[in-house]
Assembly symmetry: C2
Homo-oligomer: 196 residues x 2
């Protein structure tokens, strides 16, 4: 968190995270967040439409970083390689945010409405990645499958990262998740298939 500049938005995020940690998400009001940040409610609403949005401020950043990395991959890289290219800078971006990510995951887990919001944001992200792949000339099915696979792998790795203590582990966990996915989707031996 130390790298967030002392701008109004950064101060509001820092204040919100502190208050969510101290007294819980539900109990925290916008007025308290603004007060802790030494700002007015009016300023809060210049940056966020509501309290929930503080939890999702990283989404645009994540998408921007991911799409930038995807765009720099050689055009003949496979669709999945293009998607996976985002994970180096993404893991770097999250490295200093493990405490917040853990707090945030707990808040979202406890709140079905926030889970839906998270899900919708992740699907929009998958949609943007799919669109970027289509622009590179990837066929529709492969674009959907690569984008969705990338999101699934990231989602599983992120949950594992939040549940452990090494901030630098995310990139490795992403590779492990992809390996797990490959194992899960590996073609069955004929004998097993026949039993179904």
């Amino acid at each position: 968190m130390s790298r967030w500049k002392p701008d109004a938005q950064g101060r509001l995020i820092k204040a919100a995270i502190e208050l969510f940690a101290e007294q819980g998400y539900d109990a925290t009001t916008v007025a308290e967040i603004a007060e802790r940040a030494g700002l007015t409610k009016r300023t809060f609403f210049r940056y966020f439409t509501d309290k929930r949005e503080v939890l999702f401020f990283g989404s645009e950043e994540l998408e921007r970083i991911w799409l930038e990395a995807l765009a720099t991959t050689p055009t003949d890289a496979s669709p999945l390689a293009a998607v996976m290219a985002g994970f180096d800078p993404i893991a770097e971006m999250f490295e200093e945010r493990l405490p917040f990510a853990r707090l945030r995951a707990g808040i979202i887990m406890a709140n079905p409405e926030l889970q839906e919001r998270e899900l919708i944001k992740l699907q929009r992200l998958a949609g943007s990645i799919k669109a970027a792949l289509l622009e590179r000339g990837v066929p529709l099915n492969a674009a959907i499958l690569a984008a969705q696979t990338g999101l699934t792998v990231f989602h599983v790795a992120f949950a594992r990262w939040v549940a452990q203590d090494d901030p630098a582990a995310l990139r490795r966990l992403i590779d492990e998740s992809l390996d797990d996915l490959r194992k899960v989707t590996a073609a069955e031996p004929a004998a097993t298939r026949a039993r179904l």
Copy 2:
């Protein structure tokens, strides 16, 4: 649609589909649906909380069929094989519903709020499948990945099925989607990896 029994719910669904096709989803009211079905609005609301729910009446059926099929697979079947076992009865269930599925897909595509609802229902379904796999003793990561992969494969195949004319093609399209997914996730040759 012919197999739907002439019960109130079935009549309401049939009337709603007819009206959505004739005059569009947005323009159709609950009062019109009830009237076309020869029933009262009061009866409509006994079966559906709102007009949107008519579009999602198949979700519970889909989940029930999928989980039943999953439960009948041998306990030593792979997680993905257990998930894939649902697709025989699911494809059969949908075979007579292609015109409705196509109409429904068009309505949902044009309505962001319905897209979110669809997404949330699909994620709940993934959650149920994950839970069923966990109960069979599948490790958490494999359960998430197999459930998510199953949903992704189904989602891609369903979109392709709706866009073509053979009602019996769904099962084949599901297998093709799984093959496509395997191709997309296949490990890269070392040379390609090194370039990233």
